[in-house]
Subunit: 141 residues, 2 copies
DNA sequence: GGATAAAGTTAGCACAGGCTACATTGGCTG
DNA sequence: CAGCCAATGTAGCCTGTGCTAACTTTATCC
């Protein structure tokens, strides 16, 4: 087997850490988009329920989203995505679905594919995503 | 496309968070094993260099490893893995290689496969890992 | 044997992302 | 319209993971 931890390991770990920083943000943005789509609006409780965390945690995470330009809020009002947020949500959703379909295509069961896609999607580079997409297209055609 | 975020999303997010908690530990344990293997011993500086963090950060991460039973240390001495740590290192290494080889097998380039495997490996369930392994075996035979 | 360099330790700070407990607001309903 | 409940907000705490600065130890080399 080839060695898969070359000299660039250091920068790769930096990248992994950087990915982590945006993971939660992406998950939230994606969830906000979905919930807004489904119910017309997205409240903090919806997100707390979705992620299984307290509403306080949700609150502060949303604050970071607002700070970073992904969402906007007013007191006691639903969360709304900015255009930047909507863009990220769209991309996240597509990526999530691609990873999910890809896992199914290589023979992973639905529930596990769903669970693993959740964790994997944030670490998939554009190139890998393209490869997954190609594989799905080839396999399911 | 099928919906990939069912009602169990909450528990899946819990799982994702739990995975995160052990990611760094696994990376460290794997690195300690590799470095010890390559140089006969593993010092904090080696890890600092590997992960691109300060030696202070390494120190405290190692403290957690010791606390959790993965490693043992004495002041001013190299880090050593416990048998529990060695077991984890072995499993991590195999999983990492499998993910890496799998990405190559689906057409991802070496550098990208290496980088993405770094992030993906911690979110791959046994079932998905088995599917990847099967795919690699089938493809490269 | 003492200077110096490299490694390790300690103190103290920041931010993310969890939490509980308590205060406030706002909308529904009697 | 009063009061209650659900949602939101605020205060304050914890752990993990990052940092710098300053100090100690170890090892090495005249």
């Amino acid at each position: 087997m080839k060695n898969s931890t070359p000299q660039t390991a250091k920068s790769q770990h930096r990248k992994t850490r950087a990915d982590h920083a945006s993971e939660l943000a992406e998950d939230y943005v994606e969830a906000i988009a979905e919930i807004t789509d489904a119910k017309g609006e997205c409240r903090a409780v919806d997100l707390a329920d979705r992620f299984g965390v307290s509403h306080v945690t949700v609150n502060r995470t949303i604050s970071r989203l607002v700070r970073d330009g992904y969402a906007s809020t007013e007191p006691y009002a639903p969360v709304r995505l900015t255009s930047k947020g909507k863009r990220v949500a769209q991309k996240s959703k597509i990526r999530h679905e691609t990873v999910y379909q890809f896992l199914l295509a290589v023979g992973v069961s639905e529930p596990v594919a769903s669970a693993d896609a959740e964790g994997i999607e944030h670490h998939v580079s554009p190139e890998t995503l393209a490869a997954m997409q190609a594989f799905v297209t080839k396999t399911t055609s």
